[in-house]
């Protein structure tokens, strides 16, 4: 009877999961014991969430198996995982916004389903759980009325109401304020006396504070397993970012150019309506790379979109070569000479169903590549072929759909287009995320060349190695504010890590 099973040990062996074109999990093995807390760390796209979805029965592994107390199990649906008392709080909360907290929890509690939904039994269960763990929730509030922190509490209560004794938390603090984060850490620490927990995180101080064991994933593979107590945060940070990528470094002397991009007190709302940027300030000079470090979700996306006219700003200024460009149209910003390497290279940076040739002219179909609106096909083909060569885009020819290329080659298409338009400035978001070594190196060299030509670059990244090697100056973003601006020479992984975690010693 799985219902009464106490999980003494959950073990994954040789789990492999492929998506078309992507190897998400590559031969992953790990284990968690009773009342143990395992931290699963790694950059975005390393395969952590996919792995946990396999544990929950949401995805089926292509290879490998899972064992509970030494017995092989196979979960076809989350119901199977619930039956063993395993529950997961997903990074994007799985709450139906136009239903009440009570209904959201009843949605999972199938024993409350009779002719009508027995909401009073659900309410009782919520009260029990709330009292036991000190998690206060208002059962009658609609989810859309709740703050992010409150929603997270609801998620925890929901998972516990479903009988979870083994908790999986996917980046539980990524959307929380520092205060909420602290409360959660204390709470989880208490819970870990009764429960087993796997939690996914970027933030080393949390990993240190909470976990017994740590596993580091990179490119779908486990690169490190160990006991948390044996390592310092900076050691873990080093393991997390890794050294396998040979990163071109910025050795040349800093040029003393004029300020070309000045951001003053910028306030921008996120899709969910809170201030993703909250009085953000930043200056980038001509011919320098400013690296913006930070855990993703702290306003980076909104910043890049606001600069490029894709997102409206609430207040503050973006001054580009002396002109205010906030709230221009995207085309208006492009015409001022801005280049942009977007975060979502597959869905935003290219039109996937169009050919390389057509993607190369995305921003210039009405400019140099047409006369009287008639496209100059010969010229476009010649140009695209030249770029394919000089940017080393690996494809049979320029007529293949850009979406069918590998991530690295898609990124090269975007860079070719953006750089060859001779921009006056480049905003570059997670340029090498998920790319292999060769492509990453190539892209870094392109960025350095561009800088040496006098173009200012804002480099937004989570990879500290990348930032420290490429940048002239480094800023750290946290909760929509610029934590600190420093010279690249002063920066160390430790220092940046602390700032990224929201601790600012100068405060």
């Amino acid at each position: 009877m799985p219902n009464n099973t106490v999980i003494e040990e959950l073990r994954l062996e040789h789990i492999t999961k492929r998506f078309p074109g992507v190897l998400a999990c590559d031969d992953i093995s790990l284990s968690v014991g009773k009342h143990e807390v395992l931290a699963l760390v790694g950059e975005n796209g390393a395969g952590k969430t996919t792995l946990m979805n396999i544990v929950m029965g949401l995805y089926q592994a292509d290879e490998g198996s899972m064992f509970i107390n030494g017995e092989k199990v196979s979960f076809k649906s989350p119901n199977d995982a619930f039956a063993y008392g395993i529950g997961m709080v997903h990074q994007q909360y799985m709450l139906v916004p136009n239903m009440t907290v009570l209904e959201n929890i009843a949605l999972g509690m199938k024993d409350s389903w009779h002719f009508t939904v027995d909401l009073s039994s659900v309410r009782k269960r919520i009260e029990e759980i709330s009292d036991h763990y000190g998690l206060k929730v208002d059962p009658d509030a609609f989810v859309w009325q709740l703050s992010v922190g409150e929603q997270q509490r609801v998620e925890l209560v929901k998972t516990l109401c479903l009988g979870a004794k083994f908790l999986i938390l996917d980046e539980p603090t990524s959307a929380l304020t520092p205060q909420e984060t602290d409360e959660l850490i204390v709470l989880l620490k208490n819970m870990s006396r009764e429960l087993s927990i796997i939690f996914i995180s970027h933030k080393l101080n949390e990993v240190k504070a909470l976990s017994d064991k740590v596993s580091i994933l990179r490119h779908g593979r486990v690169v490190f397993n160990g006991r948390t107590a044996d390592y310092s945060p900076s050691e873990i940070a080093a393991l997390m970012t890794g050294h396998e990528v040979e990163i071109a470094s910025n050795n040349s002397e800093k040029t003393k150019g004029k300020d070309v991009l000045v951001i003053e007190n910028l306030v921008v709302k996120s899709d969910r309506g809170f201030n993703a940027l909250d009085g953000f300030n930043l200056t980038v000079k001509e011919g320098e790379i400013v690296g913006l470090a930070g855990v993703s979700g702290n306003g980076q996306r909104e910043l890049a979109e606001a600069i490029n006219g894709i997102r409206k700003t609430e207040s503050g200024k973006i001054i580009f070569y002396g002109e205010e460009i906030q709230n221009l149209t995207p085309n208006g910003v492009i015409k001022k000479g801005m280049g942009y390497i977007p975060e979502e290279r597959n869905t935003e940076g290219i039109v996937p169903s169009m050919s390389i040739k057509e993607n190369i002219i995305l921003k210039d179909s009405d400019g140099r590549f047409s006369s009287h609106h008639i496209l100059k096909n010969k010229e476009i083909e010649k140009y695209a072929s030249t770029l394919r060569e000089s940017y080393d885009i690996r494809s049979p020819h320029i007529f293949v759909a850009a979406g069918s290329l590998s991530g690295g080659n898609i990124q090269k298409v975007i860079l070719a287009r953006e750089i060859d338009r001779n921009p006056k400035f480049l905003v570059c978001v997670y340029p090498i995320r998920g790319l292999d070594m060769g492509a990453a190196e190539f892209i870094h060299r392109l960025l350095l060349d561009l800088r040496n030509k006098g173009v200012g670059i804002l480099l937004i990244s989570e990879e500290l190695e990348e930032i420290m090697n490429l940048s002239d100056r480094i800023a750290v973003i946290f909760k929509g504010k610029n934590q600190k601006m420093m010279d690249a020479k002063e920066a160390t992984t430790d220092k940046l890590g602390i700032l990224m975690a929201g601790v600012n010693d100068e405060d």
């Binding site: 492009i334 869905t347 290219i350 039109v351 057509e358 496209l375």
Partner: protein, 358 residues
């Protein structure tokens, strides 16, 4: 052998789809109590029995092609125009009204004006859902359908009251015959096909050039293929959405003018005859490309002509053709999703090619 299994996958999916369509069609024919073989052979062979019957197919091809070209533009830009029926009706009524005004002018002036006015009327009827979509986020699926019904009523009113044939004593709602200077001539004596076919072919070329050779078309296609990337690239997606709907409506309006001026000769009830919806099928079947739309229009011209023959020669009701068209839409959209589904392709590969790969 990666390419091999991909091609085999695609071919088998398409073959299976054709088989399903024929099979369901056969079941429907059986349900009417008619011989399946006889029905299919009438549909296929009748149009080719002589030039007159062949030209009956061609005459149906004309509005089908023009409407489908318009739908091709809007669909490529990412907006579904299912209001061609109404846009066509508006084109017919506007052309009828203007035909009597321009009648004294010479043909080479009167005809372009009449067609242009039809295009403008259809374009306005396409502009409304376009701007509603771009500015107020109104579903074009609903607004275009509603405008079809509104146009049908307006049309009925126009031929019943202001434009009614003054010589018609029974009160049948229809306009007078168009004046000679606005009639498109038949190409051959005794065959229905008329000069409008040239307009259809020229429009096909124009739409091809617009979509694939100009920066406007490029921007429309980019907007339709991935709106987010188009916005990133500085393209004013709303603007092109509206333009695409205007073009789409103008095409349908023109199709109405040409059908009126070349085939029907006067505005009367039922003149649009479902062309607006058949045009959607043609556009989809033609792969949203003019080069595909022309043969697709020919194919569906055969089907529409079969409505006449089936009624005379078999006990199969003409409504069967509409059911078949609906079925074909359902199959096409499903097949497109299967073909682009990498998971299914992967499964297919594992099932039939795993030995070779391993």
């Amino acid at each position: 052998m990666k390419i091999n299994h991909k091609i085999i996958f695609k071919v088998s999916v398409i073959l299976a789809a054709v088989l399903v369509a024929l099979l369901v069609g056969a079941i429907m024919i059986l349900a009417t109590g008619e011989s399946v073989f006889k029905t299919y052979s009438i549909i296929i062979t009748m149009p080719f029995s002589n030039f007159r019957t062949f030209s009956e197919v061609l005459v149906r091809m004309i509005p089908l092609t023009i409407i489908a070209l318009g739908i091709c533009v809007s669909s490529r830009c990412g907006i579904n125009n299912i209001g061609a029926e109404g846009q066509m009706a508006m084109g017919i009524i506007a052309t009828t009204a203007v035909a009597f005004v321009v009648a004294p002018l010479p043909r080479f002036i009167a005809i372009p004006i009449a067609v242009l006015v039809g295009a403008i009327a259809g374009g306005i009827w396409g502009f409304i859902p376009g701007i509603l979509k771009a500015k107020l986020d109104v579903s074009e699926l609903l607004s275009t359908v509603m405008l079809n019904y509104a146009a049908a009523q307006f049309y009925a009113f126009m031929i019943r009251v202001p434009l009614i044939d003054p010589n018609e004593k029974t009160g049948t709602p229809m306009s007078a015959r168009l004046p000679e200077s606005t009639v498109l001539h038949k190409l051959f004596k005794g065959a229905a096909v008329h000069q409008g076919i040239f307009l259809a072919l020229v429009l096909a070329l124009i739409v091809y050039i617009l979509l694939w050779k100009t920066s406007w078309g490029y921007k429309m296609r980019a907007s339709g293929a991935r709106q987010r990337a188009a916005k990133y690239g500085g393209i004013n997606v709303s603007k092109y959405l509206i333009i695409a709907m205007i073009i789409s409506g103008a095409c349908a309006g023109m199709a109405g003018s040409v059908e009126l001026m070349g085939n029907q000769g006067r505005a009367m009830e039922g003149i649009t005859g479902g062309y607006g919806f058949s045009g959607i099928v043609v556009a989809l079947f033609g792969g949203l490309h003019p080069a595909g739309i022309i043969p697709a229009a020919f194919f569906f011209g055969i089907l529409l002509y079969a409505q006449v023959n089936l009624q005379i020669l078999t006990s199969v009701p003409p409504n069967l053709v509409e059911a078949l068209q609906g079925l074909i839409i359902l199959i096409i959209v499903a097949v497109q999703m299967i073909l682009s589904n990498q998971y299914l392709e992967e499964k297919f590969r594992k099932k039939f090619f795993s030995k070779k790969e391993a």
